[in-house]
């Protein structure tokens, strides 16, 4: 899970989930706490989905 997808591609990650921002990849301090947590949960859910998806090579899970 990373914000700068090109770096993850360069270093060779195979399942990549784009995130929010460098200092808070899994959060957004501008949102109310509950919404921020919901956002984080969506991202983690996406990561879990990536883990259960068969991939042939480097794959970016955009949505």
């Amino acid at each position: 899970m990373c914000t700068i997808v090109p770096i993850s591609l360069t270093v060779g990650a195979n399942r990549i989930v784009p995130t929010v921002a460098i200092p808070h990849p899994l959060g957004n301090p501008e949102l109310p706490a509950e919404e921020e947590k919901a956002l984080r949960r969506r991202l983690v859910t996406k990561a879990l989905r990536a883990l259960t998806t068969q991939v042939d090579g480097q794959t970016v899970f955009e949505d």
């Binding site: 990373c2 360069t10 200092p23 808070h24 899994l26 959060g27 301090p29 879990l48 883990l51 068969q54």
Partner: protein, 349 residues
């Protein structure tokens, strides 16, 4: 004037003892040059001579690394060399590793310079390039004819105390040493010149080569995530408050392993970031923004995942050498495997 003294390290094959079936022989020492040493003799001429050759089986060396290194260095030291040559090992992995390990020990313990020769992808080159001038060779022994004169020439240069030029000028594998110099043109001009050359399809040389990253086959998909033990690893520097392991804010020299049993939420009181490469305010207020312990705990409770692994691993990715990161990753991955972790979420900042 007396000749410079050179000791040569080679394996059982080049030492004319035998092939793979003799790879298990322990180190031995012969007076004078053996095998490729004969070719070096011609290049070194009247200025230097191979006074002894140390020979060790590749497997023996690999399987008894510490003992082998100590024995070989002892044999080398007895001959009081001014310089040591190891190999060339071309692309032979065990041989290259042995040549590199000998180079490390000789340069560190005897303070004697070492010349070696390897194919750039030989693992020994990557591991030990700091300890020797490793001349870039072809990938097999057919390249001997080119390798020996190049290595010999460099050896003489070092023995004479002449200045050794850049890796590109001299044909050795970069040791990772940065040397200051005064450029004639300023940086912006050099960068634009390079860009123009690139656009024209002309040759150009980067002043800052990027590290080489390897590729790994993707792991198969997790069959049932609701049964899976999930591990968390981050390069975002999330550590317990106070950074108990003193992980450096940049160029981290280590990683940390932290117990999160029973932890349902990371807070400003319990956790912080040690990372010095991004604004720490948001992570220090709520480290779940980098390491999502809170939602994974919830999902564990709801049965959406099997479990969250008891420990998470963290280092700081800021300016950390690729080689270090690779080492931490290998150690962390091994521990996670030993602990039966099925899948890992890596978060980076």
């Amino acid at each position: 004037m007396s000749k410079f003294r050179v000791v040569h390290y080679i394996n059982q094959y080049f030492g004319q003892i035998g092939g793979e079936e003799k790879a298990n022989i322990p180190p031995s020492c012969k007076e004078g040059p053996v095998g490729p040493g004969m070719a070096f003799k011609a290049v070194l001429g009247n200025e230097a001579e191979i006074v002894a050759t140390v020979i060790c089986g590749d497997s023996w060396f690999a399987e008894n690394m510490d003992v082998a290194k100590a024995k070989v260095v002892e044999m080398i030291a007895q001959h009081k060399p001014d310089l040591v040559i190891t190999g060339p090992a071309f692309n032979a992995g065990r041989y290259g590793t042995a040549c590199g390990a000998v180079a490390e020990a000789v340069s560190q313990e005897l303070n004697v310079p070492v010349i070696s020769g390897m194919y750039p992808e030989n693992p020994g080159a990557e591991m030990y390039r700091r300890f020797a001038l490793i001349v870039e060779t072809g990938d097999n022994a057919a390249a001997m004819r080119k390798a020996v004169p190049a290595m010999g020439k460099l050896a003489l240069k070092v023995l004479r105390g002449e200045e050794v030029g850049s890796p590109k000028e001299e044909g050795y594998i970069p040791r990772g040493i940065r040397q200051n110099y005064f450029a004639e043109e300023r940086g912006s001009k050099r960068a634009v010149d390079m860009l123009v050359a690139k656009l024209k399809g002309e040759e150009f040389h980067t002043e800052y080569p990027m590290p080489q990253f390897d590729r790994v086959e993707p792991n198969p998909a997790v069959a049932d995530i609701t049964k899976a033990k999930i591990g968390l690893v981050t390069s975002g520097g999330i550590v317990p408050k106070g950074n108990p392991d003193h992980i450096e804010s940049s160029s981290a020299s280590k990683f940390g392993k932290y117990d999160i049993e029973g932890v349902t939420n990371l807070t400003a009181e319990t956790h912080q970031t040690a990372h010095g490469g991004y604004d720490p305010v948001y992570a220090n207020k709520d480290a779940d923004r980098v390491l999502p312990v809170d939602v994974l705990r919830e999902m564990e409770k709801e049965g959406k995942i099997g479990s969250l692994h008891r420990y998470y691993y963290a280092t700081v990715g800021n300016g950390t050498a690729v080689a270090s990161a690779k080492r931490y990753a290998a150690e962390i991955a091994q521990e996670l495997k030993n602990d039966g972790v099925d899948a890992v979420i890596l978060t980076s900042t």
